[in-house]
């Protein structure tokens, strides 16, 4: 079976893409954020971090199989 780390990578990558996309949409559409510190656009950089970590896990475990 695939190792758990592969699934960890997949879920981080998927969620990271959704978050970063939502953050970029807010940025370019100038949506007013209701959250405190919303002007820092944490969705973008936090989403980007999740994408990077997710990709690392996927690439490292792409061809790994465990008994």
């Amino acid at each position: 079976m695939k190792p758990i780390w592969y699934f960890v990578g997949l879920i981080l990558l998927t969620m990271g893409i959704v978050l970063a996309a939502a953050g970029i949409y807010d940025l370019i559409s100038h949506t007013e954020s209701k959250s405190i510190l919303g002007e820092l656009y944490p969705s973008i950089w936090w989403g980007a971090l999740m994408i990077i970590v997710g990709l690392v896990y996927i690439v490292k475990n792409k061809n790994v199989k465990i008994e």
């Binding site: 079976m1 960890v8 978050l19 807010d26 209701k34 405190i36 510190l37 944490p42 969705s43």
Partner: protein
């Protein structure tokens, strides 16, 4: 009460999580071929997998909502649960106790009691553990319902039933194997979903130092106010922390609670099993940087009239457990709220799945097979494990309503642990390290320990005796009462077991080989290099623990 509400993107994040969890359950079902796969995840896990699952089984809703809420209520002293109240016990488990557990090839902790003592001690502990697990399981349901109630405004009853059905479906598919997989996913989601709250809180307030400066002195130290209980938020002395939490409750939980130890049993060999709690100890020490820090941030904001931050109230009573969900709502913009809610839901799912997978194992092996149907086949036991999962979840629903009546989750938890785990630790300690402890000594010691703990709880609750009689202090909190009650229950069990053992029949030595120190070969990991040895990592973990305690003294 106004609710926070979720938008389309946030729902997508939550749906992605549920699809992954259910998808993994289906994916793993084809690898769950026999009862060992279902109950012990096939005994093939590495130290990293078992170690993160070991920690994550404990890092449920209790840790996230309860500890943040408790920091708001008691202050920095809550960090003791992560440091002195966890690390020494985890290291002790890895270094000294795991060889007895793992080498005897048992499937559960009560299974060890059967080998070391007798059937009646096993059944007594099996029943006590089963009841405790379902009570704790109710906490997870309650916490899940709290999240859904706070964010979505869902009715309490609907939230709890929805949660229960989801977990029953998912754990029934592939037992411990899928529980461990999702626990690890949950570990990552918690860090990515919640650590950002700490980061944004620090940014808003200015710095970590500023947070400490703006928290009352009785709430921002670890040990320096422990000489006088009236000077700290938990109203407890260092003696209560060290004896009650650091020794009895901590060792009782981390070394004998099957919920966490079961993850180490899934390791592929003894060295891996020993490394499991030691590796987990490093991550455990880091958890306060999510929960304690956010609790302190909540205190600072609540004390600042300009912040607009206040905890929720239920029927006029402050709901401490609402601190973390409210901080998520405060800091997280569109999209990220979904991740924060998912992290909380994931914590709930893992905690609930952990409790239920431990319950179904103990019910199936230590009660059903041991007492009700001794000739059950492996296929029948696998079926029974799945039935126990569903029944366990249904019973948890009732306990969830009881959990709701407590002022904070951790008070409820520690009350339960002081009834079951504290005396059991005395039994285990004596059983593993003293050859002449007898089956009758263990059984009656356990009965007296658990009975006295429950009687002490009721006596204080109904004011038959003064709380100060237990805590040896005129001022004390619910938590201080839990710590001291655990200590007395342990002491009663310890003394009773020794005294009764002096007058009752011992087990022959040949039946105790591999189960007791002195009758077990000690050639563990002697021919491997230093950095591969569990002892090396245990010492390193202990050094980090000492540094943290001195730094936050």
């Amino acid at each position: 009460m106004s609710t926070i509400g979720l938008n389309f993107v946030e729902w997508i994040i939550i749906v992605i999580y549920f699809l992954f969890v259910i998808g993994i359950g289906f994916y793993l079902k084809k690898f769950t071929k026999n009862e060992e796969d279902f109950f012990l995840a096939g005994r093939r896990n590495t130290a990293w997998v078992a170690g993160l699952a070991f920690l994550s089984a404990n890092l449920g809703a209790l840790e996230l909502l309860g500890m943040t809420g408790n920091t708001f209520k008691y202050g920095m002293y809550v960090a003791h649960f992560y440091w002195i109240g966890a690390i020494p016990a985890m290291l002790f488990l890895g270094i000294y106790m795991m060889p007895f557990y793992y080498s005897s090839k048992i499937k559960s902790i009560p299974g060890y009691l059967k080998l070391r003592f007798d059937e009646k001690t096993r059944v007594l502990n099996g029943i006590a553990f089963g009841v405790m697990t379902l009570l704790v399981s109710g906490i997870n349901l309650y916490a899940m319902a709290l999240v859904l109630h706070t964010f979505l405004g869902w009715n309490w009853d609907v939230s709890m039933w929805m949660s229960a059905v989801t977990v029953a479906f998912y754990v029934t598919l592939s037992g411990l194997l899928s529980a461990i997989f999702t626990e690890i996913i949950q570990f990552f989601l918690i860090w990515f979903g919640l650590f950002l709250v700490s980061i944004l809180g620090i940014v808003e307030i200015g710095s970590i130092q500023e947070i400490f400066n703006r928290v009352p002195e009785s709430f921002n130290t670890l040990w320096s106010t422990s000489g006088d209980p009236s000077q700290n938020g938990m109203l407890i002395s260092w003696g209560g922390i060290v004896l009650g939490l650091g020794f009895v409750l901590s060792f009782g939980y981390w070394t004998t609670d099957f919920l966490v130890v079961q993850r180490a049993f899934s390791a592929k060999n003894l060295r891996t099993a020993r490394m499991t709690p030691i590796l987990a100890s490093f991550f455990k020490m880091a958890v306060p940087f999510i929960v304690i820090l956010t609790g302190l941030i909540a205190i600072v904001l609540a004390n600042d009239p300009n912040s607009g931050f206040a905890l929720l109230k239920d029927g006029g009573q402050v709901n401490y457990d609402s601190a973390l969900p409210l901080l998520i709502a405060r800091y997280y913009p569109s999209g990220l709220v979904g991740l924060g809610v998912t992290a909380l839901l994931a914590g709930f799912m893992a905690g609930q799945a952990g409790n239920i997978s431990a319950f179904n194992t103990v019910w199936t092996y230590d009660i059903y097979k041991s007492v009700i149907n001794r000739k059950a086949s492996d296929t029948h036991l696998l079926w029974m494990g799945r039935v126990a999962t569903v029944v366990g979840v249904i019973v948890s629903l009732g306990t969830a309503y009881w959990a709701k009546s407590f002022p904070s989750i951790m008070d409820y938890m520690q009350a339960i642990f002081s009834w079951v785990n504290a005396p059991l630790f005395a039994t285990m300690l004596l059983g593993m390290f003293i050859i002449w402890i007898t089956p009758n000594g263990a059984f009656w010691g356990l009965v007296l320990g658990m009975g006295s703990s429950i009687i002490m709880y009721l006596a204080v609750k109904f004011e038959w005796i003064s709380l100060s009689l237990l805590t040896l202090s005129d001022v004390s909190s619910d938590m201080a009462a839990n710590f001291w009650r655990a200590w007395w229950a342990w002491l009663i069990c310890f003394a009773a077991t020794i005294i009764i053992s002096l007058f009752t029949k011992k087990k022959p030595k040949e039946e105790l080989v591999g189960l007791v120190k002195g009758l077990t070969p000690e050639s563990l990991d002697k021919d491997i290099k230093l950095t591969k040895k569990p002892e090396f990592w245990a010492v390193l973990s202990l050094i980090v623990l000492i540094i943290l305690n001195i730094y936050y003294w």
